[in-house]
C-alpha cells in the first residue's frame, strides 16, 4: 500500500458510558477514495468525528507518512444542514462565510465572491449562487456542501453519507462529480455510505465497520458475500444480474437485499 494519509492506531471511542468504537487499527491510503460501510449504529459517523478531532478518543490518529498527530486541512461534508426553508441565507452567504471572517453584514469582498463562484462553476451549479439555501434541491445542497469543503483546499475530505437524502439520479451525479474532483486534485477521501453500488463504482478501498473493523482492503477483495454477511447480518446476500435488464422480481436492484 502507498503511504497512508490517515493511520488509526488502537482507536476506541466511548460516549456517555457506551463503547461506540473498539480498538480500530487501519491505514487509509493517500490520494484515493476509501469507503466506510456498516449498518446503522456501527460508529461510521463517530469515526469521522474522531478524525475531525470533534470528540475525545483513546489511541492515536496519525496524519501523513511522517505520522504527524497535527491535523492537516480537512474538508467535511455533512448529511444535511440545520436550516429551515424560510431562511434567507443564500448559497453565496454560506460559501463566503467559510472563506472569510469579515462579517457578512459588512458585505462580501470581490475575492470571496469570485472564489465561491469559481468553485460552484467547477461542480456545475453556478446558477444557484444567489438562491436561498432553504430553497435549493437536496442534490444541489450536497453539491454546495462539497463546494464548501473544497474551498478550504483540503488535504483530506470526509463525507458523511452525503447522498443519503438524494434520489438515485442525484446520488449518481454527486458521486460522479466527487470522483472527478477527487481524481483531479488527488485528495484523500473518506466516504461513509450504505450504498453498495456507490462503493463498488467509486471507491478503491473499503473499511467494513461494526464497532470494530470487520475487514479492510480493496473493494474487489473485501466486498464478498461472506464479508457482507459478517458486517450487516446473515440475511444479506449478493444477487448478480445483467445491467440494463430489470432485476428478478423481489430482488434488490442494487444486489443488496436483507
Amino acid at each position: 500500500m502507498p503511504d497512508p494519509t490517515i493511520t488509526l492506531e488502537d482507536v476506541s471511542v466511548e460516549l456517555g458510558g457506551h463503547l461506540i468504537l473498539e480498538h480500530l487499527n487501519a491505514s487509509i491510503e493517500s490520494g484515493c477514495l476509501t469507503a466506510i460501510m456498516g449498518p446503522n449504529g456501527a460508529g461510521k459517523t463517530t469515526l469521522l468525528h474522531a478524525i475531525l478531532g470533534l470528540i475525545p478518543y483513546q489511541g492515536r490518529i496519525y496524519f501523513g507518512k511522517n505520522r504527524n498527530e497535527k491535523r492537516p486541512r480537512i474538508g467535511y461534508v455533512p448529511q444535511r444542514l440545520d436550516l429551515d426553508r424560510g431562511s434567507p441565507i443564500t448559497v453565496r452567504d454560506f460559501l463566503t462565510s467559510v472563506l472569510t471572517n469579515r462579517p457578512l453584514w459588512l458585505g462580501i469582498s470581490k475575492d470571496a465572491d469570485d472564489r465561491s463562484q469559481t468553485i460552484l462553476d467547477r461542480i456545475g451549479v453556478r446558477s444557484i449562487f444567489h438562491s436561498p439555501m432553504g430553497k435549493i434541491s437536496g442534490g444541489e445542497t450536497q453539491r454546495v456542501l462539497l463546494a464548501q469543503a473544497l474551498l478550504g483546499r483540503p488535504e483530506i475530505l470526509l463525507l458523511d453519507e452525503p447522498a443519503a437524502a438524494v434520489d438515485i439520479t442525484g446520488e449518481a451525479l454527486f458521486c460522479d462529480i466527487l470522483e472527478e474532483v477527487q481524481n483531479e486534485l488527488g485528495i484523500t477521501t473518506l466516504l461513509v455510505s450504505h450504498d453498495l453500488s456507490v462503493v463498488t463504482t467509486h471507491a478503491r478501498n473499503v473499511i467494513c465497520l461494526n464497532k470494530s473493523i470487520i475487514c479492510s482492503g480493496t473493494v474487489a477483495e473485501m466486498l464478498t458475500p461472506d464479508n457482507l454477511k459478517r458486517v450487516f447480518s446473515p440475511h444479506v446476500d449478493i444477487f448478480s444480474h445483467q445491467h440494463n435488464q430489470p432485476p428478478a422480481r423481489g430482488k434488490d436492484p442494487h444486489g443488496l437485499s436483507g
Binding site: 455533512p78 434567507p88 441565507i89 443564500t90 462579517p103 453584514w105
Partner: protein, 280 residues
C-alpha cells in the same frame, strides 16, 4: 453621555423630547433595541427563546437576593442572570438531557426561589413592578453608560462572531472542520445574551424582553434576502419600533416597553403580509 442627551434637544426639537428623561429613554432604546435584534438573529437560529425567558425570569430572584444581601439590586439581578445562564450552559453540556429540559428545570427553580424569598420577606413585593413591566423612563446616567458598554460589546461580538455563529447554527461538525470550536463561542454567546436580557429588562420588563429579541429578528426573516439583509433589517425594525413606540407611549400615556413591543409586532404582521403577497 449627558452631552449626547443635551444635543438631542437641539437636533430633535420636538415637544415630546423636551423632558430629559424622554431623551435619555430615546438614547437607551435606540442602543439596546438593535443590540437585542442582532443577538435575536442567533436566538432564532439556535432556537434559544426559551433560554432568554429563563434568564429574564431569574430577575425576581436576583433582585430579591440583592435586597437581602444589601447589594444594588440592579447589579445583583445582572449577576444572578449571568450565573443562571452559565448554569444552563454547563448542565446542558454535561447532562444527557435536552437543552430545553435543562432550561425548564432552571426556569422552575429560579421562579420558585424568587416567589419563596418574596413571600417570606414581606415588603419586597413593591420592588417587583419595575422588574415585571420595566421602566425605560427611569433610567439614569449610569444606566446609559451600562447600555452603551453593552451595545459596543454586542457590536464587537457580531463583528468577530457573526459568520462563525452562522456556521455553528448550520452544522457544528462542519464549523469544527473550519477551525471553529463550539464551546467557547456558545459560552460567550450565552453569557452575553444573559447580560443583554438583564439590562434590557429595565426597558421592557421581564414579560416582554424575549419579544425584543425575537420579534425584530422574525420580521427581518420575512423581509431579508440574504444574511446581510437579515442583520440590517432586524436592526432597523428594532430602532423604528423603539422610536415610534416611545413616541406613541408619550402620546397615549401608555407603558413604554409594551408600546415598543406592540409596534414591533405590528411591523411583523406587516412583513408577514408582504411575504404572503410576494409568494402568491
Amino acid at each position: 453621555m449627558d452631552y449626547l442627551v443635551d444635543l438631542l434637544a437641539v437636533i430633535l426639537p420636538f415637544d415630546w423630547l423636551e423632558p430629559t428623561f424622554m431623551r435619555r429613554a430615546l438614547v437607551g432604546l435606540v442602543l439596546i433595541a438593535p443590540a437585542c435584534a442582532t443577538m435575536g438573529v442567533q436566538v432564532v437560529s439556535f432556537r434559544m427563546a426559551f433560554f432568554s425567558d429563563a434568564i429574564s425570569h431569574s430577575a425576581f430572584t436576583g433582585v430579591a437576593l440583592g435586597l437581602i444581601l444589601s447589594v444594588d439590586p440592579r447589579f445583583s439581578m445582572i449577576g444572578f442572570g449571568v450565573l443562571v445562564g452559565c448554569g444552563v450552559l454547563f448542565f446542558a453540556r454535561k447532562s444527557e438531557l435536552s437543552t430545553d429540559t435543562v432550561i425548564g428545570v432552571f426556569f422552575a427553580a429560579v421562579v420558585a426561589l424568587g416567589i419563596v424569598i418574596v413571600s417570606a420577606r414581606r415588603g419586597l413585593g413593591r420592588y417587583f413592578e419595575g422588574v415585571l413591566f420595566g421602566d425605560i423612563l427611569a433610567i439614569n446616567r449610569m444606566d446609559l453608560w451600562i447600555i452603551l458598554g453593552l451595545f459596543l460589546t454586542v457590536a464587537f461580538f457580531q463583528w468577530i462572531g457573526f459568520n462563525r455563529m452562522l456556521l455553528l447554527a448550520l452544522n457544528p461538525p462542519l464549523a469544527h472542520s473550519r477551525g471553529i470550536r463550539a464551546m467557547p463561542w456558545e459560552i460567550t454567546y450565552g453569557i452575553l445574551l444573559a447580560l443583554l436580557v438583564m439590562v434590557t429588562l429595565r426597558a421592557v420588563g421581564l414579560l416582554l424582553v424575549t419579544a425584543l429579541l425575537v420579534v425584530p429578528a422574525a420580521t427581518a426573516r420575512n423581509l431579508a434576502r440574504s444574511a446581510r439583509g437579515l442583520f440590517w433589517w432586524a436592526s432597523l425594525i428594532a430602532a423604528i419600533s423603539a422610536v415610534l413606540g416611545l413616541y406613541l407611549s408619550y402620546a397615549w400615556g401608555s407603558a413604554t416597553g409594551a408600546t415598543v413591543i406592540l409596534v414591533a409586532v405590528a411591523l411583523f404582521v406587516g412583513s408577514f403580509g408582504y411575504r404572503l403577497f410576494k409568494n402568491r
